[in-house]
């Protein structure tokens, strides 16, 4: 009984971890290349959710069927666009300034996106119910239950992560990204435009965060301009846990965090989150580089 029970909590944890993972990748990508902790990353996720919200509502009003792939592209595009713009407008000028200035700017961009969004009348500072455009189907293995939402979430996350791995490992662009993480001067000597690579990194990271926004809206159907703060912080923690700068590490860290959070709650609901972070502290005491942080050569 208890074993099957743990299976249910494991499914819950994987579901939560898959959303953290998509956000954590963006954190780690950007950090790997320009050593910037982009605190605004959680807000790209929020904007992805709002882009999906408006597109779905618009399509439903037009009596069209909102296909999830199309909505996913819209969310990713929104996340990518905002990520690209925030890099161009805010971060680019600080590239060779002290790193702390860029960090503070990232916090500023984050707050700007949250408060600006909540000031737009069409969005506002209150919760919005996210439209349920896919009807839910329940499945069960023994006494453990899951739904088509969880299948959609986890499979979209995995597909996106596979595509990203392919790009980074097997394309010239990916090679340039890896190279820029290792040695920027050598990269320039090879005639590669570093700024272009950084733009692309932000676009990729933003797109993944936007996708996570849609998935989160689907599973937890209420959205808010401040919804990115907590998942953003947790994804950052996941990236650090996995060894910041390492994509595989970020994904692993996200699943570890999601699952340990859920198990923490199942042990005791009041101190659950504390248990999850006690694990984090222990890992960082014994492995200050994070779980996979030692292979510095692979950093992207």
């Amino acid at each position: 009984m208890d074993k099957i029970f743990n299976l249910q909590q494991l499914i819950n944890g994987i579901q939560l971890g898959s959303i953290y993972a998509l956000i954590a990748i963006g954190y780690t990508l950007v950090y790997g290349i320009i050593r910037l902790v982009n605190f605004a990353h959680g807000d790209f996720y929020m904007l992805g959710a709002y882009a999906a919200y408006f597109t779905i509502n618009f399509m439903l009003a037009q009596r069209q069927n909102p296909y999830i792939i199309f909505i996913l592209l819209v969310s990713m595009l929104a996340g990518a666009l905002v990520a690209f713009l925030s890099n161009r407008i805010a971060y680019r000028k600080l590239r060779y300034k002290p790193r702390l200035s860029a960090l503070i700017t990232a916090i500023g961009v984050s707050m700007f996106l949250e408060y600006f969004t909540s000031a737009i009348p069409a969005i506002g500072p209150s919760y919005r119910p996210f439209p349920q455009f896919i009807s839910m189907v329940n499945y069960n293995i023994g006494t453990a239950y899951f739904t088509n939402y969880q299948i959609i979430n986890v499979s979209i996350s995995i597909v996106l992560m596979l595509i990203l791995t392919y790009i980074i490992k097997y394309t010239r662009l990916g090679m340039a990204m890896r190279a820029s993480a290792q040695d920027k001067d050598a990269l320039r000597l090879m005639g590669i435009d570093l700024e272009k690579i950084i733009d692309i990194t932000f676009i990729v990271g933003g797109a993944l965060a936007g996708a996570a926004g849609l998935l989160s809206g689907l599973t937890y159907p209420r959205i808010l301009p401040y919804m990115g703060i907590v998942p953003g912080l947790k994804a950052f923690i996941a990236a650090v846990l996995g060894g910041i700068g390492n994509i595989g590490g970020a994904v692993a860290g996200a699943f570890i965090l999601g699952i340990s959070e859920v198990f923490g709650y199942s042990i005791n609901s009041i101190i659950g989150e504390g248990i999850a972070y006690a694990i984090l502290i222990l890992v960082l005491i014994f492995l200050p580089q994070g779980l996979f942080g030692k292979r510095t050569g692979e950093k992207v």
Binding site: F5, Q8, Q9, N12, G13, Q15, L16, G124, P125, S126, Y127, P129, F130, Q132, M136, N138, N140, T143, Y145, F146, T147, Y149, Q150, S216, T219, Y220, P221, R222, L224, M227, V230, E261, V262, F263, Y265, S266, S269, I270, G272, E273
Partner: protein, 378 residues
Amino acid sequence: MKKVVVLVLLVVALLSTTLTGCKTSSEPQTIKVGGIGPVTGEASTFGVSTKNGYEMMIEEWNAKGGVLGKKIELVFADDKGDPTEGATAAQKLINEDKVVAIAGTVMSKVSLAIAPICQSANIPMVSPTSTNPKVTQVGDYIFRACFIDPFQGTVGAIFAYNDLNAKKAGVLFDNSNDYTKGLAEFFRDKFTALGGEIVAFEGHPAGTTDFTPFLTNILKGKPDVIYCSDYYNDDGLMAKQARQLGYTGPFLGGDGWDSPDLVKIGGDAVNGSYFTNHFSKDDQRPEVQEFVKKYTEKYGQPPDALAALGYDAMGLILQAIQNAGSTDGAKIRDALKNIDYHGVSGQIKFDAERNPVKSAVIIEIENGQQVYVTTVNP
């Protein structure tokens, strides 16, 4: 000659300033009453309904000529559902706007932040919907228009045990919120006292969107009913996630469920659930039906309990000012203590703790609609 002209001009100037000065320092032409509510933030539909209730009551009094021969002016402030914002709003209303009394606010945790400010300024405060017992214990200037958590949690437990025939119940609440925690505890105590079993008593942190770990713990005990004492936007998510985990039974909640957004977030998952409330628009008393009709004409949708209690809270204040014959804080307070008010949410009289003694209604959600089930008397 020139000197005389200057002198005359000076005298005229002096007189005119003193005269106009007299005019501005004379009694204000309106009576300012404060209103506080969360029109933005996590409980925004509560705030909007409450504000509508305040406004409607004031308009009705003004149409009859106001109170003590003066028009009433509502000075409204948004607390955003946040205790700090609420405290700032109350200080602004008292110190800058010089209101004579405050109707507010909706959420217990925010009212608990506002009440000490009103108490120390000797400004009577009537909370429309803060059901946590601690609110009026702050001091003798603090009143409320609604019943309190022990009653609501107790009624919920009696209804679950007797009417739903539930023997096992799970409880899920927000651990950081006095209202939902209070309700959950009183439900637990009464349900156990009746002979029922609480299979799990789970508190989640504020801002949670994934309730599956808590619900999984609750469902392990195979409950007949799940008591969710949160506000509607959390309750909707909880119900949905519980259904995803295979739960098919009913949910039961408190007045925090009362919002049109509940069904938008929870969808089909909330059908067949029950909650205790202060007011039902299907109540056939003529004053309720008249209120429902006027409210619907003015705001384009029928009133919920928040609107009814906002309306009654403001009504209590205005009636008390009228009875006191003064805008002095202490006199309004004394008038409130002795009031016997006929409100749309029931007959209101205060007990020694300044809590009204009144009835509760049980509402069921059927196909996304609220259906009146029964009225429970104290």
